[in-house]
Amino acid sequence: MEYAIECFDLHKSFGTHKIHKGIDLKIVKGAITYIIGPSGTGKSVLLKQLCGLMSPTKGKVIVNGQDITVMKPEELVNMRKTFGILFQNAALFDSMNVYENVAFPLVEHTKLPKNKIDAIVAEKLRLVGLSNIEEKMPSELSGGMRKRVGLARAIALEPEIMLYDEPTTGLDPIMCDVVDNLINDTQKQLGITSIVISHDIESTLKIADYIAMLYDGKVVLYGTAEDFKTTDNPYVKQFFSASKEGPIKIM
């Protein structure tokens, strides 16, 4: 099996607070991997370490065969073009309209003429099910629309690996389904590797090819959706049954 990202014995601390205590995880190329776990287990921190936005205290992160933890800042900047990231609140630039947001990576990293950029922006917005909103400012959009614009921006440069930070949090059930389908469709149409951080058990089991559950700074279980449905792992069982009784301590 080919891996897009591999991390070995990843440790991360903020001051004396240990977030990760040795994470080993391999992300299969061309598949959708969900990272789940209770709040505060460092899922977003893990995501940021996978793409080099944060460096681990100890351990290695291998992206396409290269250790990104020893890269120079310039190499790291170049490496990041491999990634598209959808942030939790979409992180749209609020001083720019939708068109400028989606066109931003194209303007920064390509020398395409304006009409080509226009066409790509329109196509990406169509892909996420939005049209005729190019002139709107992010503050005029609903949460679901912002996430979709964020996704259009993230896939503008056609990244090899797409990272989603809690894409369905704060959305209504219908919008959740729309975003789930988007993740699935983006994956199918572009054939990219996707990593999704989520609390949403239903979408996880529906879409994930592989799932990793984090708790107390470690991966407690890694496997397919089927493995997770049939496992006896007490952490997973408690998390899936949404019960406060079990080994997971409430923080």
Binding site: K48, V77, F83, E108, R153
Partner: protein, 256 residues
């Protein structure tokens, strides 16, 4: 003993740390100024924001300072019968000291705070991470246009402040205090040199750098939501004003 050491030591360590961090950021900003792509549009936008939009505040500050200064110095000079020297003193003080310092403090309050609030908000809403994620260096994208604009615009604002200060002083002296116009101007031309204006210009370039660098740095270091942005903005104005006064002393001592 340990307590005493930590009481005095901790703030000292903090100051050294912040100073070092800011110096490094300034160094990397200057290095990045010459790196492509040149973001002319962003630079012009910042020049408009820091410069053109500060104009009304700067004109008011300059004129009123000049007017007040004419009144105050008249009290002293009148006692010696040297009324005609009021113009010289107003022009000298405006050009060497009040112009650069007051314009910089006004810009710190108006534009420096806005820079911190904008970058701080971008930081806490992950927009800075988004820049990084899209392989765009935030220092290159956010710092360079702002700091460059500060360095370019501040001397111009200083010139406007000094000009309106001198005009304000002149109007009060001639129209209100009734000082002889010919003598007033004659003394002013005789005793004011180009060097006086040049000194003020050098100061204002440094202050322009200080205000925008502090604004960017404080914004970039913002943590913790809306409250964090508020705190960073206040700290940015206070720090910029204090640094302006400290650098003013250092520069004055060097150029004395």
């Amino acid at each position: 003993m340990e307590k005493v050491l930590s009481f005095f030591g901790r703030p000292l360590v903090n100051i050294v740390e912040v100073a070092g961090h800011m110096a490094l950021l300034f160094y990397s900003t200057i290095k990045l100024v010459f790196k492509k792509p040149f973001r002319t549009k962003l630079l012009l936008k910042q020049i408009e924001f820091i410069g053109a939009n500060s104009m009304s505040v700067i004109i008011l500050t300059g004129s009123f300072t000049g007017m007040v200064f004419a009144f105050q110095s008249y009290i002293g000079f009148h006692k010696f019968g040297a009324d005609q020297l009021v113009g010289t003193v107003v022009a000298l003080a405006m050009a060497r000291e009040l112009g650069p310092v007051l314009s910089a403090i006004m810009v710190a309050a108006r534009a420096g705070s806005a820079i911190t609030a904008e970058i701080g908000t971008m930081k806490v809403t992950e927009q800075v991470d988004a820049l990084n994620a899209m392989a765009v260096d935030p220092v290159h994208y956010l710092f360079v246009p702002r700091i460059l604009a500060g360095l370019i615009v501040m001397p111009m604002l200083n010139a406007v402040t000094v000009f309106f200060g001198i005009v304000g002083g002149y109007l009060v002296s001639i129209k209100v205090l009734g000082i002889n116009k010919t003598l007033y101007l004659d003394y002013m031309y005789t005793y004011i040199d180009f060097e006086d204006f040049a000194n003020g210009m050098i100061k204002s370039v440094v202050f322009g750098g200080v205000v925008t660098l502090v604004g960017c740095y404080k914004g970039f270091m913002t943590r913790g939501g809306a409250e964090g942005v508020g705190r960073a903005t206040t700290e940015s104005v206070v720090m910029a004003c204090v640094l302006i006064l400290i650098f003013d002393y250092i520069l004055t001592a060097f150029m004395f």
